[in-house]
């Protein structure tokens, strides 16, 4: 069940493309990161504080990046709490430093870092190999954290399995369906909703023939919009054709 939180102070959402984090890993110590922040278009006060936080499970690190007008990265951005840094996420905050000290003026959350030299193409689904027993996959969904595809850990040594056409065709359209149902449960996600919901909604709307999700949806409309998105995804990915080719190739 989605619980809406109210953005009653007018906090701005910083766009993903304006808050990029690049990781530089090293075999000699913890990874470091570089933050590329474009904040000039948001109209934040010049003296507002800029903070970058790295987090994963119950670990977190905070880095002060100066102010909006005078950006000053810290002496070290070594992720000593995250060694190795897999799965670490970042959030960027712009914080009022005037008489309303501590008020969040802008933020971006759940930022996935890219590796040095990697294009910033956004991946919106985490895949983790943490299922035991006979279950092949399971989708982890809740009202706050980004969805995660859990896969049987025995497939960890065969990571290519999840890219294999049959697995892809049988699993990913259903994953998309479940995620979109949750994302638009209360209508098109907006301010105050978890960022992952907007990310997935935008992804669905980028598929050929999928219209923007209506702001308000009843159950039937919502299901129809989700179905169209799943069909468009399957069509674009040629799910059935590729599935069939593998099947016929093996017969």
């Amino acid at each position: 069940m989605t619980t809406r939180r109210l953005n009653f102070t007018g906090r701005q959402r910083i766009r993903v493309e304006d808050a990029r984090i690049t990781l530089e890993t090293s075999t000699r110590g913890p990874a470091e990161f570089e933050a590329s922040l474009r904040l000039s278009e948001y109209g934040f006060p010049a003296d507002a504080l800029v903070v970058v936080e790295a987090y994963r499970q119950t670990s977190a690190m905070r880095f002060d990046f100066g102010t909006v007008a005078f950006r000053q990265p810290p002496d070290s951005t070594k992720l000593v709490e995250f060694d190795p840094p897999d799965g670490v996420r970042f959030r960027v905050k712009v914080v009022d430093a005037s008489d309303r000290r501590g008020l969040l003026l802008g933020s971006a959350d759940e930022i996935r870092p890219t590796s040095l030299g990697e294009s910033p193409a956004q991946c919106i689904l985490d895949v983790v190999f943490d299922l035991f027993g006979e279950e092949v996959w399971r989708l982890s969904l809740d009202d706050v954290d980004a969805p995660k595809l859990q896969v049987n850990n025995k497939l960890m040594g065969r990571r290519t399995t999840i890219k294999e056409p049959r697995f892809f065709a049988l699993v990913f359209p259903e994953v998309l369906r479940q995620i979109l149902r949750e994302a638009v449960r209360d209508g098109r996600p907006g301010e105050g909703d978890p960022p992952w919901q907007t990310d997935w909604c935008l992804f669905a709307e980028s598929l050929p023939g999928v219209k923007p999700a209506p702001e308000v949806l009843n159950d039937a409309d919502g299901e129809e919009w989700v179905q169209r998105a799943v069909e468009a995804f399957s069509r674009q990915s040629e799910c059935f054709s590729r599935f069939l080719r593998v099947e016929e190739g093996e017969s």
Binding site: T58, S59, L104, K148, Q150
Partner: protein, 250 residues
């Protein structure tokens, strides 16, 4: 003292089967073979040991103890070591799943004993990993987290369960201090009366209020005092409230 070990895949399977058996009638003791046989477990590389006979009055003492044992290990390596936490559960099983007056164990759901490592929404529910991860997150000042860890090992407690479920809350010094100020009674080392219930002013409500506030405020910048003063009136009843009758650890 026994050197730390971790269960392998086969060991984890056998532990699940054994928990199924114990869960059926609440009776049974940990098979020695499951803890020490090389076919189901292996030594942990660090070579450190634990006192298998040590008892822990509260989750806090457990967390401090295992943190001292694992202090040199990286958070990631320890937190991801499912086999280690499962093995530790077997070592201290009589404390994480004690027998009652008639010799029956109340076996809880599986993530309490075998951690769901990659599922960050449930991994903290493990009865041994959960307390350790809280103390590790606040290792600069572990006493800060006492309020979340006053229960015995087999009882996680409402405050810890509610706060630990949210990454942005459990890692916040200010949030943990506010929770401690509201629900912890230092004179008894236990929780204040009503802190385990539902309704106005309880931990469940605190988390809802803090999540709302976190959308609009940076807790580190405003500080504990200001955060505390932002709480609605419903929380005032816990200030100066009497503590529970029971002493901690019962």
């Amino acid at each position: 003292m026994i050197p730390l070990r971790r269960l392998n895949e086969r060991g984890l399977r056998q532990m699940h089967e054994w928990l199924d058996q114990v869960g059926a009638d609440g009776r049974g003791s940990v098979p020695e073979s499951l803890m020490y046989a090389d076919s189901v477990s292996e030594p942990v590389e660090s070579g450190v040991s634990v006192e298998e006979t040590k008892s822990f009055p509260r989750r806090f003492e457990w967390a401090l103890y295992i943190e001292s044992v694992l202090a040199e290990q990286s958070t990631r390596e320890v937190a991801m070591d499912k086999g280690l936490w499962a093995w530790l559960t077997l070592v201290y099983f009589d404390q994480v799943c004690p027998v009652d007056a008639v010799g029956v164990r109340d076996v809880l759901d599986r993530p309490r004993y075998v951690p769901t490592i990659a599922d960050y929404k449930t991994y903290y529910r493990h009865l041994l990993l959960g307390p350790w991860s809280i103390v590790r997150a606040h290792r600069d000042h572990p006493d800060r987290a006492t309020a979340l860890l006053v229960n015995p090992l087999h009882k996680p407690g409402e405050v810890a369960e509610q706060v630990a479920a949210r990454q942005e809350l459990i890692t916040s010094r200010q949030v943990v201090e506010v929770a401690g100020r509201l629900y912890y009674e230092p004179s008894t080392g236990g929780m204040r009366r009503g802190s385990g219930s539902k309704g106005p002013g309880t931990p469940r409500r605190l988390v809802a209020v803090l999540r709302q506030l976190s959308l609009n405020f940076d807790f580190q910048e405003i500080g504990t005092e200001a955060l505390f003063s932002m709480l609605p009136k419903e929380f005032r009843k816990f200030i100066g409230a009497p503590s529970k009758q029971s002493a901690p650890g019962r």
